[in-house]
Amino acid sequence: MPAFNGGVNYLDAMIDHSHIGRMLPSHSARVEKGRLRFFATAIGETDPVYFDEAAAQAAGYPALPAPPTFAFCLDMEQSRPLGWLEDMGVDLGRILHGEQSFTYHAMIHAGDVLNFSSRVADVYENKGGALDFVIKETRVTTGDAALVAELRSVIIVRND
């Protein structure tokens, strides 16, 4: 190979673009009240709305609300949460979480059963292939198919 990038050949490490658009297996998870309280404790939350059902109801919520980033954890609640990356040939020891987005359409509460449906939205390289970027997009819906949130993860794979 010509030494356009310092003599390093990243071509073998590049992720096949044919993965773009691939749907990943969907899964569902129930939002447990105790888990929400534990999560709120773990992130140092002190607002009673996240612990006390009476406070949540007084604030207008039907049940304990899930904090803004909680849906990400529930999406990881699978037997092989990163198995889809391994299936694409990615070494999980080389990945970094680059970016995470949430778009909110409705609040998530204790008792909700959520369905997570994801796809590989994009794959691209930069720095001559030293880094691969994999974009995963997830739609979170309730049992009656109402969209409650959209998640977008940017995963960086170091090939150097």
């Binding site: 888990r35 009673p48 980033t69 990400f72 954890c73 995470q100 909110y104 959209e150």
Partner: protein, 164 residues
């Protein structure tokens, strides 16, 4: 117990800063609790010897915990019902002992499908001023759920990843 700080969102102007949240120092106990609560037991977050094997000085803080602190900083000021989107970019590794300063600044007043919103620029730094995370949030001036059928695309508000 912390009462919601009374901030009149409608009165905020571009350049105004929301009340900051400064966290306690991240400890190994913080990391163990978050590993259990998040379900992510990546050894780099909880096991010093494994972290060193991975080439790190010590255990590191999951970026999503820092993102969760930022979420707290927002919901302490803005009812969560008014949060329309949250985007974070992980910029630096947070170490045990770091205190995190979570800051949100109004950068735009806008309307989306008739709904008045504020665009906030988000930054999390440690006590030395090192950037750990930056990002953006959209919050509605009215503390109501998004109107049904609203479809703000996540992609539309996130910029292409800058060069790492």
């Amino acid at each position: 117990m912390v009462a919601q700080e009374s901030v009149d969102l409608a009165a905020l102007r571009v350049g105004d800063e929301l009340p900051r949240l400064v966290t306690e120092a991240v400890s190994c106990q913080t990391l163990a609790l978050y590993a259990d609560a998040s379900g992510n037991h990546d050894p780099r977050y909880i096991d010093s010897s494994q972290a060193r094997k991975a080439g790190l000085h010590d255990v590191i803080t999951p970026g999503m915990l820092v993102a969760a602190y930022l979420g707290r900083a927002l919901t302490a000021v803005v009812p969560q019902l008014a949060l329309r989107s949250l985007t974070v970019r992980f910029a630096g590794v947070t170490q045990v002992g770091d205190t995190l300063d979570c800051c949100a600044t109004v950068i735009e007043r806008l309307e989306d499908q008739g709904e008045p919103l504020l665009r906030l620029k988000l930054r999390v730094t440690n006590a030395w001023g090192d950037l750990k995370l930056d990002g953006e949030a959209l919050v509605a001036l009215a503390a109501t759920a998004p109107a049904a059928g609203r479809r703000r695309s996540t992609q539309a508000q996130t910029k292409k990843m800058p060069q790492v």
